[in-house]
């Protein structure tokens, strides 16, 4: 009797094991282990509302019809400093085409004012007491930046400090050309 083991198909064992394994490992090469895909992408931005740093209150109806950049930051976050400078320039140059909303993450109001005076301001800042807004956005830690199109759909979530390339690319995707 001819067994499977002695058949002429025996050599197939190695490629059958090696090809799927190789494919699996190769897939991992192009993946950033720090990026956790956001389930919000392609969905409407969760309702944003609450008190702002200048003692007003914010309602996301004011975002309607324009692309928005939602930046989650904290006073203890070092990369957020450079990011605030970029956002300040963005608001100065394109403030009429888009909205920028800051969300304070675990940051007291005094620390936030101090930080903004030093590194950049000029946009609405949600104080997010209790951290519920950050929860609704699925934030794991600052800085995180969400790009929302004019229809209110989240198009991209960037974890970590913004770069000019990311900003240019993702703003173009929501219809703002730098």
């Amino acid at each position: 009797m001819r067994t499977l083991a002695s058949s002429r198909w025996r050599w197939l064992v190695v490629p059958l094991l090696a090809i799927p394994l190789g494919w699996l490992l190769f897939q991992g090469l192009g993946r950033d282990p720090r990026s956790i895909p956001s389930p919000l992408i392609g969905k409407p931005l969760p309702a944003l509302a609450g008190p702002t740093l200048d003692s007003g209150s914010f309602d996301d109806a004011s975002l309607a019809g324009r692309p928005a950049v939602i930046n989650v930051w904290a006073a203890y976050c070092v990369p957020c400093r450079a990011e605030h400078g970029m956002l300040r320039d963005l608001v100065a140059q394109h403030g009429d085409e888009l909205s920028v909303i800051g969300v304070m993450y675990q940051t007291g109001e005094d620390a936030a004012r101090d930080f903004r005076d030093r590194y950049g301001s000029g946009w609405t800042e949600l104080t997010d007491p209790g951290g519920r807004t950050a929860l609704d956005l699925g934030v794991t830690g600052p800085p995180e930046t969400f790009f929302v199109d004019a229809d209110g759909i989240v198009r991209y979530r960037h974890i970590g400090p913004l770069t000019t390339d990311v900003l240019r690319e993702q703003l173009a995707a929501v219809g703002v050309d730098l």
Partner: protein
């Protein structure tokens, strides 16, 4: 008789499986809202910790999640709905035990494949050395024709003589 064996075995397995499922689901004790909240907090990953559940952590984010769980349960939402609320925002990542069945099945599949391959290899080892002999024995049957008979007789006579 014999052809009933397989269906019977399958039916028996199905009954056992359903029984096991029912038994596993039966002792669902009635939990108070606080117990439900604590259990759910134990299932969720604390977003700003390393490998801790919300229940084990006291960071601001873990506190916020606990408050949100308590609030939503108080508003009458079920534990499943509240869990889904967090999955919708953070994805499967927020669950310490993945809900995707593939993750649980894959190790079993890999182990089964390994055992199968080993068995295959073992069978091959046992079979292959005996094969050349078998081939020799069963090779073309001996031909006994007149010439062969004559040769044998001549040689026997030569021995006798």
């Amino acid at each position: 008789m014999r052809r009933w064996l397989l269906p019977l075995a399958v039916a028996g397995l199905v009954v056992l499986g359903i029984g096991a499922l029912v038994a596993a689901r039966q002792p669902a004790p009635v939990l108070t809202r606080d117990e439900q909240a604590a259990r759910l907090a134990g299932e969720l990953r604390c977003p700003d910790c390393q490998g801790l559940s919300v229940a084990e952590s006291h960071t601001a984010a873990a506190d916020a999640i606990r408050a949100e769980i308590a609030e939503q349960l108080a508003a009458g939402r079920s534990v499943d709905e509240v869990r889904q609320h967090f999955v919708n925002r953070y994805g499967q990542w927020i669950l310490l035990q993945p809900a995707d069945p593939l993750v649980w099945l894959l190790p079993l599949v890999v182990i089964a494949a390994g055992v199968g391959l080993f068995a295959w290899w073992l069978l091959g080892q046992r079979q292959s050395p005996s094969q050349p002999e078998a081939a020799g024995e069963t090779d073309a049957p001996l031909m006994v024709d007149d010439e062969a008979r004559r040769t044998v007789r001549d040689e026997l006579e030569a021995l006798d003589g």
